[in-house]
């Protein structure tokens, strides 16, 4: 059984991947099969999301039982999860109470985190020269300052045309070039990973 199960998993993965791939090239022949397999995968993904939520609850439940430091946060999480599930289940995901929870807690918390991130990034940039004094550091800081100054007119100085054009050139030439390179690399990596899965070489599903 130990030898049969991995082979069976590999066969299922390879056959499914080939069918979905063929559906792209031959939609008339393999289109229906492709849609069916994709539907199954979406159901599995939804169930995996539920399983992840359950696992999260179990982990924090065990953390409460250990009575260590940080257990209070686990208690808050579990209570919040339970209340949200109950209210959303009763009122619906877009009901008044659900939206109230979302607008009162989730949105302000996430916005606050991003605001703190902005302050931390500014503080880190201010200390960057002191921590890593190098020419690349100075180049990086100069680029940051130019992009910031060119993205918005200064409060007391107004828009500086030079800075705006330099910022535009930086965003569209070096940045886009780098982005294109990244996308090409990602695409090649995705193709390679897909081929490895289709050939059965990479078996991440074996566990």
């Amino acid at each position: 059984m130990k030898k049969i199960l991995p082979v069976a998993n590999a066969i299922v993965a390879v056959v499914s991947g080939l069918l979905v791939l063929l559906g792209y090239f031959f939609p008339g022949v393999f289109g229906g099969l492709q849609s069916m397999l994709i539907g199954w995968a979406i159901i599995l993904a939804a169930f995996a999301l539920l399983l992840g939520i359950f696992n999260l609850g179990m982990v924090h439940w065990k953390k409460i039982g250990k009575d260590g430091s940080g257990s209070i946060y686990s208690i808050v999480l579990l209570i919040s999860l339970a209340v949200t599930i109950v209210l959303a289940g009763l009122n619906g995901p877009t009901g008044t109470l659900s939206l109230w929870i979302f607008n009162t807690f989730q949105v302000p918390v996430e916005i606050s985190l991003l605001a703190i991130l902005a302050v931390v990034l500014v503080y880190a940039a201010a200390r960057l020269v002191l921590r890593r004094p190098s020419w690349y550091t100075i180049l990086f800081l100069v680029t940051v300052v130019v992009v910031l100054l060119g993205s918005v007119p200064l409060f007391f100085l107004g828009e500086v045309a030079v800075l705006t054009s330099v910022r535009g050139w930086l965003a569209q030439v070096p940045a886009v070039a780098g982005a294109r390179g990244l996308l090409l690399g990602v695409a090649l990596g995705t193709v390679a990973t897909g081929l490895r899965i289709l050939m059965g070489v990479d078996r991440a599903y074996d566990g």
Partner: protein, 616 residues
């Protein structure tokens, strides 16, 4: 035997290790002539009868030197008073050792049966005296052979000599007895034997019928005395030993060590083959006592100091495994103060701009920001009542940046009386979309509950879900969040695929989500000519712009960040910014100032440190 002087208490000769006491050699008190035992009372130097002087000298020449030395040594060493076994016992022992069974034929055999002595006598021309002769000689006052410990026989009386008794000269008997006694250990040391055997010299008269004993046997001749006297006075010259033998010679300085084990107190074996011996292991099973072997303690003998050191080591090792508590950092530190200052510098201008509603900073122009105009035109080209798919794939944290552009887009679509279908691939997208739609409807003055939109909810599976939505949206999202089958009623009853929508508006902050939509849904939209519009965050613009600038363009319109949203708002009639752009400008200006200040400070500090280092 070596005729070297020894102390009286010595039991063995220091030079030749010959037994001096209790070995059967009963040395007379005074040195005697060789070849015979002279009683102490007798004066040495008596001359032998002249008739036998010649005979004596010839016989003396025939006697080997070692024999002479043996006799002389015994004559020299003084004999202490005997303390030990009585003379009777000693004589009995000697008799028991030397008596040998004799056959009847040898009853009158020669008294002396030693070959070498017989040979000597033969040379001397003497007949072997018989026992009777020996007995007669004794009676005539010849050499009296008195065994040790025996009572003195009355002079004249001749004890009957049995044929089996061998009459030997005294000195011969002494030699034999001493050797046997020494072997058996019968005579304890320190017990000088009795001088039982006394040789009394007779006048030399020989009675008729008596055994004629040569004088040299019984009497020490003057020639024997004289040579012995100077010999006793003058030690023998050492022989010329070969070198290897000389090397083997033990050092004379060494004194003999005492025996390792004193066998005097050992038990005498009374039975068995080792009977009579001392200090031997008994063969009797009872001698071997089977007993339990002793148990030894395995506990180490540890001193108090060692114990203390061990405890110290154990404590050190135990502390190594225990996590040491980190030192608590002070709350008020230069680092924390700097962070607070930076935060205040950033927050205060923003708050001031929002509270004051400042509009000092000019708004961005739509023609400057690429993609805004096309997006506006794409929406403007939509027919009235068109079905538009809106994908809310951004996080709530980016609401401040993107809500302005989304609200403008929703307002524009509401103005077109378009039917908006809301979907999302993020878990919080559905609530975000619902909340924004309600806000936009309230802003537009449209009451809630209107059929202006439908929220289909969350699409699981990520990229797979998008592919499923693109190929069969009815199968992936059959019902809305309210539980209605929206695909059965207008306007979605005419929608079979994503390409059937009039436009697809993607709202995302993540460039990967944008890429997934473009790669999975974009080809079908391009085939149908359905425009794909994008509202993104400023951070995703560089990664999404290539899709917009591609030929053919995969994205027909793009509104990036807050500036794009403000510019987009201006194209649709201008929505009030409420100080947002001024606050953004103030925040960016403050950030730039902080970064510049920090960089300049860092450079100055480094320069000072480098200067100080050079100076030192």
């Amino acid at each position: 035997m070596c005729r070297k002087p020894n102390t009286p208490v010595q039991e063995e000769c220091l030079y030749c290790q010959a037994p001096l006491k209790g070995a059967g050699f009963i040395a007379p008190a005074e040195p005697a002539a060789e070849g015979s035992q002279v009683p102490p009372s007798e004066e040495p130097g008596e001359e032998a009868p002249p008739a036998q002087s010649d005979l004596f000298s010839s016989l003396e020449d025939a006697v080997p030197d070692w024999l002479k030395e043996t006799e002389a040594s015994f004559l020299e060493s003084p004999a202490p008073e005997a303390e030990g076994p009585t003379s009777e016992q000693l004589s009995d022992q000697i008799d028991a050792l030397i008596n040998q069974p004799l056959t009847s034929s040898e009853g009158q055999g020669p008294a002396i049966d030693d070959d070498w002595l017989a040979s000597l006598l033969a040379e001397a021309g003497l007949n072997e005296p018989s026992i009777e002769d020996l007995g007669t000689a004794q009676d005539q006052g010849g050499i009296e052979l008195e065994p040790t410990g025996t009572s003195q026989d009355e002079p004249g009386e001749e004890p009957p000599i049995a044929p089996e008794q061998v009459q030997k000269p005294d000195w011969v008997s002494h030699l034999e007895a001493g050797s046997t006694i020494k072997l058996e250990g019968g005579m304890p040391p320190g017990e000088p034997p009795d001088r039982g055997l006394q040789v009394s010299e007779t006048t030399g008269q020989e009675g008729p019928g008596e055994v004629e004993i040569p004088d040299w046997v019984g009497k020490p001749g003057p020639e024997a005395d004289t040579p012995s006297a100077p010999e006793t006075e003058k030690p023998l010259a050492p022989a010329d030993l070969p070198g290897w033998l000389e090397a083997l010679k033990p050092s004379e300085d060494l004194s003999p060590s005492e025996p390792v084990e004193d066998l005097t107190t050992a038990e005498v074996v009374k039975a068995g083959p080792l009977m009579g011996l001392r200090g031997v292991l008994s063969a009797h099973p009872s001698a071997i006592r089977a007993r339990k072997p002793p148990t030894y303690s395995i506990k180490l003998r540890v001193t108090d100091e060692q114990h203390a050191r061990v405890e110290m080591m154990e404590e050190l090792l135990a502390n190594e495994q225990k996590p040491k508590p980190l030192p608590s950092k002070p709350i008020i530190s230069s680092r924390n103060i700097t962070r607070l200052v930076v935060a205040l510098v950033l927050i205060l201008p923003v708050i001031w701009a929002i509270f004051t509603g400042s509009q000092r900073v000019p708004l961005p122009q739509p023609n400057i920001i690429p993609g805004v105009v096309n997006c506006t035109q794409s929406v403007q080209r939509l027919p009235v009542g068109a079905s538009v798919l809106l994908a809310f794939d951004y996080e709530a944290g980016f609401s401040g940046e993107m809500n302005l552009a989304v609200s403008t887009a929703i307002s524009q679509l509401l103005m077109k009386n378009a039917f908006m279908t809301l979907v999302t691939t993020t878990s919080s997208g559905a609530a975000l979309a619902e909340s924004l739609m309600n806000a936009s409807l309230s802003t537009a003055g449209i009451p809630e509950g209107t059929s202006a939109y439908t929220n289909l909810g969350y699409i699981p599976g990520g990229t797979l879900g998008l592919l499923g939505l693109a190929t069969s949206p009815r199968a992936v999202l059959p019902y809305s969040l309210d539980g209605d089958n929206v695909w059965a009623a207008a306007p979605l009853n005419t929608i079979s695929g994503v390409a059937d929508f009039s436009a697809v508006l993607l709202i995302t902050h993540d460039p990967d989500i944008a890429r997934s939509w473009i790669e999975q849904v974009g080809p079908l939209l391009q085939e149908a000519g359905t425009p794909l519009l994008l509202i993104t965050s400023a951070q995703a613009e560089p990664l999404v712009r290539p899709y917009y600038e591609a030929v053919p363009a995969q994205v027909q319109g793009m509104v990036p960040g807050l500036a794009g949203g403000l510019a987009y708002g201006q194209t649709t009639g201008g929505s009030p910014q409420n100080g947002t752009w001024d606050a953004f400008s103030a925040g960016v200006t403050a950030s730039v100032l902080v970064i510049l200040a920090g960089a300049i400070t860092g450079v100055v500090v480094k320069m000072i440190k480098a200067k100080n280092k050079k100076e030192s």
